[in-house]
Amino acid sequence: MEFLSNLVNGISLGSVYAVIALGYTMVYGIARMLNFAHGDIIMVGGYICFIVMTSLGLPSIVGILAAVVVCTILGITIERVAYKPLRSAPSLAVLITAIGVSYLLQNLALLIWGSDPKSFTSVVSMEPLRLFDGSLVITGETIVTIVVSAIIMAALTLFVNRTKVGHAMLAVSEDKGAAQLMGINVNATISLTFAIGSALAAVAGVLLCSAQPSLLPTTGAMPGIKAFVAAVFGGIGSIPGAMIGGVLLGIIEILSKYYISSQISDAIVFAVLIVVLLVRPAGILGKQIREKV
């Protein structure tokens, strides 16, 4: 029972990572860049939803929609201003710019919203599920997060594999030059990817803050890194991989906290990541790319 309860907690934490990782992996898969600012877009999403719900007193659905709209616009703007001019530059240059954007967003948030923590009202009003006389508690947030991340995963998979735009994305991720020759607008495709990635970040921000209701300008930083690890874990660029990676990461983190040590659980998570990558160098579901000689 104890184990089951920890497993549920792990899945609950993992599903939050999974939602974030889906956005990460999407951007990486198509634009081939590590978007270090992704975690901070999540933070912005959280703040927007907080303002709409708490300061303006509007219903939660309005808050979520506002967060999605603002983050999408923000994502497109960042892409246009900071990443697009560097499309032909080495990938490390874009990485550094992304770090600059991350600093920028964090410090802007600090100036706008201040350094005091804010307590986020959960958008989920579901009562926790109490099983076995209350010895196993599944919170509403857990259920909603798992369902939402599963829906997003399915929708993204369908979108990428079944629609024309999705195929264009796949083509761009395989070979930019060839995609362009086939008449695909590479720039527009990459911009669209950022728009989708940022919209997902907004949803992730709302879910993250509902599950862990404390909002600070640095809220997105560590979950961003962990989700990045989750995306690599599952095979970066792979949509189901991000989901599996996120959930596994959450389970490992909670189990190691409970059974080994709550102090070095991060070290254990990272150690497992290293072992997985040594056995499967492209992650659990990542494509093993053969080198052409």
Binding site: E2, S5, N6, N9, S12, L13, F50, T54, N107, L110, G114, S115, D116, P117, K118, S119, F120, T121, P128, R130, G134, V137, T139, A211, Q212, P213, S214, L216, P217, T218, M222, P223, E253, I254, K257, Y258, S261, S262, Q263, S265, D266
Partner: protein, 393 residues
């Protein structure tokens, strides 16, 4: 192109060096004289402050900055000795803190009120000791912060809080089985924890669950809370800051765990977190020298001034410690007859003895005194949160 870029970079470096050189020339005059003319013709004493106002610890630095500014404004408004206060950011990093300290020295700082957090404070104390600059930290609670004879503090030390908490719990028979959740990556939290555990053992309190978290994973507490719950502890000791505590309380509520929660001064601020459901904090006990809910005149006027200055935020103990630090400096300066034209080293020599001779009625205690070790003598009070407000226990 490469050449051009490196030429530009080299030019930038030359410029930046030149810029530093320039500021040096203005600073050297200040450090010899130490005093500068205020706008109204009287001389002012320059007090510097250091703490994090950006990054993850920004909330503490901002509180200290505002608290100190309020005190300086009040004292200046009374007439008499005038002060100028300048606060520099250190991002809670020892290296940046030294930079901030040197920057303030260039500005002509004569007294240091800082730093806010422990690790930078230890690094800066080594510098102030070498320079013989008077230093009073509002909230650097690690023991090493005041190891040098020029350094004093306003807050309790971490071990003191841990020991006092264990004694209080034992004397009042609050619990027999205790669970602890603390931040092992934080100096403050682990300092209290270590002393608490040692004292609890001595007093025969049983610690059934001792769980940690780190600043990298301080959002999800499901594992720690369920461990505390299954250990059967009737008291949960939280020697941590209120932000994490609010998450632990939320989690405990979700799984139906209702222990008696006991914390230290870090928990102050819990009920004023914006949009926090104060029902979750019902019955939480905390040992703190300051609470914004106190009704004495001093506290109410401070709280009003702070709310006005910060745009509606409630002051926490950091702000109160900083406020008291400035008043302690002022009292010691009056006692020693320090004038603005003295060098920082002379001021330090005078204040080192003067501060041990004053008695301060501050926000964080009545009749606070200091001894040569740098530690204050004051008594904390224990409060219980009832219906969202503090009630003396």
């Amino acid at each position: 192109m490469k050449k051009f870029v490196s030429a530009v970079l080299a030019g930038c470096m030359a410029l930046s060096l030149a810029a530093c050189g320039n500021s040096a020339s203005s600073a050297s005059t200040a450090s010899t004289g130490g005093a500068s003319e205020g706008s109204n013709g009287t001389t002012v004493i320059k007090i510097g402050g250091i703490g994090p106002v950006t990054g993850a610890a920004a909330v503490y630095g901002n509180a200290v900055k505002l608290g100190a500014e309020i005190a300086v404004e009040e004292i200046n408004a009374k007439g008499g000795i005038q002060y100028e206060f300048k606060f520099e950011d250190d991002e809670n990093d020892a290296e940046k803190s030294i930079n901030a300290y040197n920057n303030l020295k260039d500005w002509g700082m004569q007294i240091l009120m800082g730093t806010v957090t422990s690790t930078p404070c230890i690094a800066v104390a080594a510098e102030t000791s070498a320079d013989n600059m008077f230093q009073i930290t509002p909230s650097g609670s690690a023991e090493d912060c005041i190891a040098t004879d020029n350094a004093f503090r306003v807050c309790f030390s971490d071990p003191e809080q841990g020991t006092l908490s264990a004694e209080y719990i034992s004397e009042n028979n609050l619990a027999t089985k205790i669970a602890i959740i603390y931040d092992s990556s934080d100096v403050y939290s682990s300092g209290i924890h270590d002393a608490f555990v040692a004292k609890a053992e001595e007093l025969g309190l049983e610690i059934v669950c001792d769980e940690k978290f780190t600043s990298d994973s301080n959002k999800d507490f499901s594992a720690q809370v369920s461990k505390a719950q299954s250990s059967g502890a009737d008291l949960l000791f939280l020697p941590i800051y209120y932000n994490e505590a609010s998450l632990i309380l939320t989690r405990a509520d979700a799984v139906g765990y209702e222990p008696l929660v006991f914390g230290c001064d870090g928990l102050d601020g819990l009920v004023s977190v914006e949009n926090f459901d104060t029902a979750l904090a019902e019955g939480v006990m905390l040992m703190t020298p300051f609470t914004a809910a106190a009704t004495d005149e001093m506290t109410t006027s401070f709280v009003a001034a702070y709310e006005e200055k910060s745009g509606g935020e409630t002051p926490n103990q950091f702000a109160a410690d900083a406020y008291d630090a400035i008043y302690a400096i002022d009292a010691a300066i009056q006692k020693a007859g320090v004038t603005a034209d003295m060098s920082y080293s002379d001021i330090c020599d005078a204040l080192k003895t003067a501060i041990t001779e004053i008695e301060l009625d501050g926000l964080t205690g009545k009749g606070i005194t200091w001894d040569a070790s740098g530690a204050p003598t004051k008594t904390p009070a224990v409060y219980i949160i009832e219906n969202g407000v503090y009630v003396a226990a």
